[in-house]
């Protein structure tokens, strides 16, 4: 690329282009979409965690005025043509996923019938009237007992094991001979993504044209389109997915799941568009849950506290209907367990097991358990050895000059300096000052503590359909710029960052640039937003498409201004002669000539002011890293934890927009704080979900979270612009930092909490046990 463009917007806190419509209530979410004659769907759901379905009598429901149809598995399921997902691939044998429950309900909330009515009120009235005959069966709700249970969630999976994987076996010699060995059983509860907009879609089948249009709440509009076409056996050209605004995804909306399949299947059986939007209870109970891992982590260290070996052995609950393909995604926990530390040897062994609960979704940093287990263990080791947890990390954390570093599981870290983000966090916190404060507090009978957590994460992993990204940039006849990318903007500000990148790529004024995303009819294919890929991948795509378009603009400007192409500079939506800025022409004028007066272009010059590129990522992974640090105070009478300071010291490479980076990290951090302290999707022994509303499922609010302080470090990644992904990190580093802060505060009482969440009653119980 020549020297024609200066970076002006990337790196700055440009206000978001999404905000003016979103903050004034003018977003277009699924429930804002209205189509002529539109009908509404509502699912009849099983109240049992496991039951044989012996009959469904919909006569009373159908007799209710306003009810148009009631579908059962027999009506919808046979119409499935193909139901594989790109994330797993066509050839991986996936776990069962029937649209409606067939013969057996396998979790409370399992959809067993679909009611279609004129409005949602009537649809809900009708679901009450659908008479389902259930024969209740014993359920296995506790995944830790699933392998030995007599109850099988899916007949074809013996011992309820979905799969598993083990690396090389642990080097027990290393553990036996080490100066220090620590071990902890870490149990993490179920918590869930909880997007503010629940799942939903409007599907409209136009029989005359044989075209299907879907307005969806999704992170992956193109894959949704492809999946739908495969599902229904209709040509993909006849399927259009339009995603305008999506209110949060966090991994729950990457893959269309069973209810989505039902709506798509039902759409051709009803005379008008069919809308489905789930309510909050449905979202909590059936939209996919996460985490829920039980495992034992071990660490061997030498006399100086240097890590010699780590091992992790765990099981993960995948529920009844996990997203594809749960066995492989869980492998990441094992692979990343060594973290951003110097670890000579590592081993892992895991199984994923079914249970009669909803099903695993790939929630923001789905492998988070590895950081949770490791960071808790490091603090335990520090206390055992008699060293400050900060100091222990300092001795083991990887430095920038050690890159590239291949972790013992073969993960090739590069373009990170974990020691830098770590020391930055320590400095911002004023570690020594805090230790002094902590001693004084203890003397007063107050328990305050600090917790650190460091992680390294693979962002923008370029595998399969994730490896490329398309962008089309068009200079319109008016000279304004439109950039088209696949979409996935669900609160992660992709509209804004793409506009910034494009403005910089072309030297356009940012007010002249707009983006169109999420409509499969007009945007290039892309894998959507997942795996923290959007920043590095769109940066690559926009850079390539931008370079092509720049060439075209420069060629036309050079000709028009009578100079050599090398003399042209693009800035502020104008092309100017570098050494004589008075000689310039606006993008608007260039466009006008190209579109309306192409005869003025030199013979042979293309009139095109539009470029399309498909960027293939050269880097298989863009490693990002951060250290989280948190201080808290624990009220030992009530068990209440108050977070007093929260610091994130992160490296996501150069930042396209610091506001966006901080927003992404804050959101993830708050989710992790929720996971540490209060979010708990608990089931009772019979598989009844107990936290099915926000009265019981507790999300952190503004009153529970302190202002988050940031430290930025920018170590460029291997991709275009050096940008790395930022979507998931906040949710990974936060939970362990909070737990470590609690354990640090309660260390004088001999309390170590390793079973989450750290609810007030759990803390009080531990204090009781320890002080007996």
């Amino acid at each position: 690329m020549t020297n024609t463009v200066a970076t002006r917007y990337s790196g700055t806190r440009v206000p978001r282009v999404e905000d003016s419509r979103l903050l004034t209530g003018h977003g277009t979410f699924v429930d804002d979409v209205t189509r002529p004659g539109m009908l509404h769907a509502c699912f009849v759901r099983s109240p049992f965690a496991r039951a044989r379905i012996t009959g469904i009598d919909a006569s009373a429901a159908l007799a209710l005025p306003g009810v148009r149809a009631v579908f059962t598995a027999a009506d919808l399921n046979p119409d499935v043509q193909e139901a594989w997902h790109a994330v797993a691939g066509r050839d991986i044998p996936d776990t069962p996923r029937p649209p409606l429950a067939e013969h057996e309900a396998k979790f409370v909330g399992d959809p067993v019938a679909l009611v279609v009515a004129e409005n949602r009120y009537i649809a809900e009235d009708a679901t009450e009237l659908v008479d389902v005959d259930y024969e209740q069966l014993t359920a296995i709700a506790d995944f830790t007992r699933a392998e030995t249970s007599d109850v099988l969630v899916h007949d074809t999976y013996h011992h309820n094991v979905a799969g598993g994987l083990a690396g090389a076996p642990p080097d027990e010699q290393a553990f036996e001979s080490a100066a220090h060995v620590v071990s902890a059983n870490v149990y993490q509860q179920i918590y869930a993504p909880v997007p503010i907009e629940t799942r939903g879609m409007v599907v409209e089948w136009s029989a005359a044209a044989e075209e299907l249009t879907i307005w969806a709440s999704t992170q992956t509009p193109h894959e949704l389109r492809a999946f739908c076409a495969r599902l229904l056996g209709i040509p993909a050209q006849r399927v259009r997915v339009i995603m305008r605004d999506t209110g949060g995804g966090f991994g729950q909306k990457v893959v269309p799941m069973r209810e989505d399949m039902c709506i798509m299947l039902a759409a051709r059986k009803v005379p008008a568009a069919l809308k489905w939007i789930e309510d909050r209870r449905e979202n909590l109970m059936s939209a996919g849950q996460a985490r829920h891992v039980d495992g034992t982590a071990r660490m061997a260290l030498d006399d100086d506290g240097k890590i010699l070996a780590v091992d992790i052995d765990f099981i993960q609950d995948v529920g009844a209907y996990p997203t594809p393909y749960p066995v492989l995604t869980t492998a990441a926990i094992g692979m990343f367990f060594p973290g951003p530390y110097r670890v000579p040897k590592a081993s892992f062994d895991y199984k994923t097991v079914f249970s009669n609960t909803a099903g695993l979704a790939a929630y923001r940093g789905p492998w988070q358990y590895e950081t949770l287990a490791r960071e808790i263990l490091l603090d335990i080791a520090a206390r055992k050895i008699g060293v400050d947890p900060v100091e222990l990390r300092r001795r083991n954390i990887l430095r920038g000059d050690e890159m590239p570093y291949v972790n013992p599981n073969g993960m090739p870290y590069d373009h990170v300096a974990p020691a830098d983000t770590f020391e930055q966090a320590v400095k911002i916190l004023d570690h020594e000052g805090f230790r002094k404060e902590q001693q004084e507090a203890l003397a007063e009978g107050r328990y305050i503590g600090l917790g650190f957590s460091a992680y390294i994460e693979p962002t923008g992993a370029a595998t399969g359909h994730l490896a490329t990204e398309g962008a089309t940039i068009r200079l319109e006849p008016t000279g304004k710029v439109n950039v088209y990318v696949n979409g996935g903007s669900s609160g992660n500000s992709i509209e804004t960052t793409v506009v910034q990148l494009t403005a910089d790529a072309l030297g356009a004024d940012i007010d002249d640039v707009a983006t169109i995303q999420g409509d499969t009819a007009v945007t290039p294919y892309g894998a959507g937003t997942q795996g923290s890929r959007s920043a590095p991948m769109t940066a690559g795509a926009v850079a390539e498409a931008g370079a092509m378009l720049c060439k075209q603009i420069v060629a036309m400007a050079a000709h028009r201004l009578g100079v050599a192409e090398a003399d042209i500079e693009l800035a502020g939506s104008r092309a100017s002669v570098r050494d004589d800025p008075s000689k310039s022409v606006s993008f608007a004028d260039i466009a006008y000539r190209a579109y309306y007066e192409p005869h003025h272009l030199p013979h042979g010059m293309s009139a095109a002011l539009e470029s399309t590129a498909r960027f293939t990522s050269q880097a298989p992974i863009h490693w990002a890293n951060a250290t989280h640090a948190c201080t808290c105070e624990v009220d030992i009478e009530t068990g209440h934890v108050k977070l007093t300071r929260y610091i994130v010291s992160e490296d996501v490479g150069p930042m396209i927009n610091p506001n966006v980076v901080e927003g992404q990290i804050s959101g993830g951090t708050v989710q992790g704080i929720g996971g540490a302290l209060m979010e708990n999707f608990a089931y009772d022994g019979d598989g009844n979900p107990l936290a099915s509303t926000f009265v019981d499922y507790l999300l952190p609010t503004a009153t529970e979270v302190p202002s988050i302080e940031f430290g930025h470090t920018e170590i460029p990644g291997p991709g275009v612009g050096g940008y790395k992904g930022v979507g998931e990190g906040g949710a990974i580093g936060s939970t362990p930092a909070v737990i470590n802060a609690i354990n640090d505060a309660l260390a004088p009482l001999g309390v170590t909490l390793t079973r989450l969440p750290a609810s007030p009653s759990a803390i009080v119980d531990l204090i009781d046990q320890a002080t007996k």
Binding site: R120, Y121, E124, D125, E128, D279, R280, R281, E637, T638, G639, H640, M678, N680, A682, L690, A691, T693, V695, D696, L698, P700, T701, T703, E704, S759, P760, S761, V764, D765
Partner: protein, 295 residues
Amino acid sequence: MKSAPFDYHRPDSVGSAAQMLAEFGEDAKVLAGGQSLVPMLALRLAFFDHLIDISRLDELKGIERRDGTVWIGAGTTDATVGADQEICTAVPLLTRVTPYIGHFQIRSRGTLGGAIAHADPAGEYPAVALALDAEMEAASPSGQRHITAAEFFTGLWETALEPDEVLTGVRFPVWTGRCGFAVQEFARRHGDFAIAGAVMAVELDDDDRVARCAIGLLGLGSTPRRASGAEAAVAGRPAGEVDAEDVGTLAMAGLDDIPADLQGSADYHTRVGAALVARSWTEAITEASREATNA
């Protein structure tokens, strides 16, 4: 989450509202702020064929000081109660407890009468009413009557109100003299249902002895509770000789239906309750001690 169908009525007087209740019987429910009722309807946990909206009736609103009491209209919003200067001086427990009720938006619609008639065991206003021996005023087609707080809360979400009665107002006694007040509530997050809570009023005589003490408990039973045992134990004793933790322990002693739930075991609720009573004792006594002695 859409409610089942219902007929909506907006009577123009309390009398008409009571008539409607009598006419429709158990199929009707009074709607005031709706902050407790509407979620139950939306969740389809509750079903009523008729909702009788009394939220706009002026006769149910108002705050009046009368003969050593403060009368508060049942339809007065929590926000109004919490911001009122008269209440702040005359019944400080109401002022101090109001910020714990949900959030700002909830308090702008929720009413004091609604909270008391709904009688949630973790409710703040019911606990204050019980602690202060407030008097409820109710109207039905057959007339008006008064119900003491001690008789009012009869069970889980149950009150002594007859099916055709509308709660019209609550009269709170005013404490004068060397008084101290405290509210201690513990919930998972600000605005959540209390895991346990205590509201306390204490009066000291000129010799710093406890002239009287009233302790209301929330979240520790199927109704709000009075810690009468603890109250009796401290009466007449020099404040300085009372151990705060003992008050807490005593307050928990009479309770026989402490809940066990997703937040914790009955034992946990009890421990928190005891700790909060102890803290309220310290806070209330400190405040009372600062009050000037009666000349």
